[in-house]
C-alpha cells in the first residue's frame, strides 16, 4: 500500500464520518461545522488526485465563503425550537431519502462501469490536467461559451440580489 492509498483511506473515512455526523447532529451549528470538516476532507482527496486547483477552490469557496454564510444565518436565526423541525412529516422528508438512494445507485453504476473494481492508481495524465494553467486554457478556449454563460447567470443573480436588498425603488 503506497502512501497515497493510506492518505486516501484516511481522508475518505474522515469524509464519510463527518458526512454522517452532519445529518445526525441535532444542533444545527454542530452539523454545519461537520460539513466544513467534510469539505476539507474532500479537498484533501482532490489533492491526492493532483487536482490542486479544484482542491483549493473547494476550501476557498465552499469551506471558506459559503459555510460562513450558512453559519451566519444559523447564528442570526438563533433556532430555539429545532426539535420541531424533526417532528414534521412532509413530502420533503420522504422524497429526500428516495432521491439520495437514486443518486447512490447512479454513482455506483458509474464507478463499476468506469474502473472495473480498481481505483488505486492515478492516470499519469492527471498531473497535467489538474494544473491552474491547463484549466484556464481550457476555460478560455474549448469551454468559453459555457464559461461566459455561467458568468451571465451569476450577473443575473447579483442584479436580483441588489434589487431584493434595496429598500425602495427611486
Amino acid at each position: 500500500m503506497t502512501f497515497e492509498t493510506i492518505l486516501f483511506y484516511v481522508l475518505a473515512l474522515a469524509g464519510i464520518v463527518s458526512a454522517l455526523l452532519v445529518i445526525t447532529r441535532r444542533n444545527p451549528m454542530h452539523a454545519a461545522l461537520f460539513l466544513i470538516v467534510n469539505f476539507v476532507a474532500l479537498a484533501g482527496i482532490y489533492l491526492t488526485l493532483h487536482a490542486q486547483f479544484v482542491a483549493i477552490t473547494q476550501v476557498l469557496v465552499y469551506a471558506g465563503a459559503i459555510m460562513v454564510l450558512v453559519l451566519f444565518v444559523i447564528m442570526l436565526l438563533n433556532l430555539q425550537n429545532e426539535q420541531d423541525l424533526f417532528e414534521k412529516r412532509s413530502w420533503r422528508s420522504y422524497s429526500g431519502p428516495i432521491l439520495s438512494l437514486l443518486l447512490l445507485a447512479l454513482l455506483l453504476r458509474t464507478v463499476a462501469f468506469v474502473s472495473g473494481g480498481s481505483f488505486d492508481r492515478i492516470s499519469p495524465e492527471s498531473e497535467r490536467i489538474g494544473t491552474v494553467a491547463n484549466i484556464g486554457q481550457q476555460l478560455f478556449t474549448a469551454f468559453v461559451f459555457p464559461f461566459e454563460m455561467a458568468s451571465l447567470l451569476l450577473l443575473a443573480a447579483m442584479v436580483g440580489a441588489v434589487i431584493l436588498a434595496k429598500k425602495r425603488f427611486p
Binding site: F3, M29, L33, I36, Q52, F53, I56, T57, V59, L60, A63, G64, A65, V68, L69, L71, F72, M75, L76, T131, V132
Partner: protein, 341 residues
C-alpha cells in the same frame, strides 16, 4: 522521501514556529513602546533592561489566571475557536519563501521555503478565508450578545475585504503569469518590485490586510467602547492568550505575504554583483526579508496609534464602494498595459 527529508522539513517548521513566537513576544513590547511614544508616555520600563522582559511577564500572568467558561456557553466550540485562529495564522507561513538560492545540508539541497506549492497565492487566500471561523465561532459559542455582535461583524468585515484582497492580487498574477510564490519573488528582480509596477494594487491589498487582521482602524470586532471586548469578551487565561497570539501572528503573516507579493520578498538589488557564495547570499536575503517584514510590522503599529477607528457603515462603504472598484480598475489597467506595451 525518506527520514532525512522529513527531518529537514520538520526542522524548517520548528524554526519558523519558534521565530514567529519570539517575534510575537517582542511585538507586544514594541506595540506598547510605540503607543507610549506616540502618546508621550514612557511605556513599560520595569521588567528587565528597558522593560524588554515585559511580554514574558504578561504571558506568565495570563497563564496563571483562572480559565472561566460561561455557564451557558458551548464548551467544545468555545475551546475550538482560539485553536482555529492560531492554526490558520501559522499555516499560511508554510508557503512563504525566505531566500532564493538553495543550500546543501547532509548532502541534500534545501530550499528556503517549507512547501513550494504551485497554487501558492490561492493557498494563502483559502487559509485567510478559513480564519473567519475563529472569530465568528468564538462570538457565537460565548453566548454573550457583545461577543456575538463582534463575531458577526468580523464575518461581514472579512468577507467584504477578502474580495478586494483577491482582486488586487490578480494584477500581480497577471504580471508574473504564475501563482507560485517563488516565481513571483523571482520575477521582482532588482528594483522591479511589484510595489513599483502595481501601486494601486499594493494600496488596496494593504488596506484589505488591515481589515483581515482586524487591526485598527478596522478593529470593529473588538471595539471596546461599544462591544466591551467584542468576540473575546468571555475569554480568559490561556484561551485569551491564544487570541492575542493569533492577532500578532496574523500581523506577521500578512506582513510576510505583503513583502513576498509587493516588496520583492528576499530580493536585494545588486546583491549578485558582490560575488558572494550561496551561503552568504542566503543569510543576506533572509536578513533583508526580515527587515522588510519588520518595517511593515512597525507600519501596522504606527497606523494603529495614529488613525481612529472607522464607524461600521464607513467600513462597509470603504470596502464595497472604494476598494472593490479600485481593485477592478487596477485589473483593467494592468490588462491594458500588458496588452499594449
Amino acid at each position: 522521501m525518506d527520514v532525512l527529508d522529513i527531518a529537514i522539513a520538520l526542522i524548517k517548521i520548528v524554526v519558523m514556529f519558534v521565530v514567529v513566537l519570539l517575534t510575537v513576544a517582542e511585538l507586544v513590547y514594541t506595540e506598547r513602546k510605540i503607543s507610549a511614544w506616540i502618546q508621550n508616555r514612557v511605556g513599560p520600563n520595569r521588567v528587565g533592561w528597558l522593560g524588554l522582559l515585559q511580554p514574558y511577564a504578561d504571558v506568565v500572568k495570563l497563564l496563571l489566571k483562572e480559565d472561566i467558561v460561561p455557564a451557558a456557553a458551548n464548551r467544545f466550540i468555545h475551546t475550538l475557536a482560539p485553536v482555529i485562529s492560531i492554526g490558520v495564522a501559522f499555516s499560511t507561513l508554510a508557503v512563504i519563501p525566505i531566500a532564493g538560492p538553495t543550500i546543501t545540508l547532509f548532502g541534500r539541497t534545501v530550499h528556503m521555503v517549507i512547501a513550494d506549492v504551485n497554487v501558492g497565492i490561492l493557498y494563502v487566500l483559502a487559509l485567510t478565508s478559513m480564519g473567519v471561523y475563529g472569530l465568528t465561532l468564538s462570538g457565537w459559542a460565548s453566548n454573550n450578545k457583545y461577543s456575538l455582535l463582534g463575531g458577526l461583524r468580523s464575518a461581514a468585515q472579512m468577507i467584504s475585504y477578502e474580495l478586494s484582497m483577491g482582486l488586487s492580487l490578480i494584477g500581480v498574477i497577471m504580471i508574473t503569469g504564475s501563482l507560485q510564490l517563488t516565481d513571483i519573488v523571482h520575477h521582482q528582480h532588482g528594483w522591479m518590485w511589484n510595489l513599483v509596477l502595481q501601486p494601486v494594487g499594493f494600496i488596496t491589498f494593504l488596506v484589505a490586510s488591515f481589515a483581515e487582521t482586524n487591526r485598527a482602524p478596522f478593529d470593529l470586532p473588538e471595539a471596546e467602547p461599544e462591544l466591551v471586548g467584542g468576540y473575546h469578551t468571555e475569554y480568559s487565561s490561556f484561551k485569551f492568550a491564544l487570541f492575542f497570539l493569533a492577532e500578532y501572528a496574523n500581523m506577521i503573516t500578512s506582513s510576510a505575504v505583503i513583502t513576498t507579493l509587493y516588496l520583492g520578498g528576499w530580493q536585494v538589488p545588486y546583491l549578485e554583483t558582490f560575488g558572494l557564495s550561496d551561503g552568504w547570499m542566503v543569510l543576506v536575503q533572509i536578513l533583508a526579508f526580515m527587515l522588510k517584514v519588520a518595517f511593515l510590522l512597525f507600519f501596522f503599529q504606527w497606523v494603529r496609534w495614529s488613525v481612529p477607528r472607522f464607524r461600521y457603515d464607513q467600513l462597509m462603504n470603504l470596502g464595497w464602494k472604494v476598494m472593490l472598484p479600485l481593485a477592478i480598475a487596477n485589473i483593467v489597467l494592468t490588462g491594458a498595459l500588458l496588452l499594449f506595451l
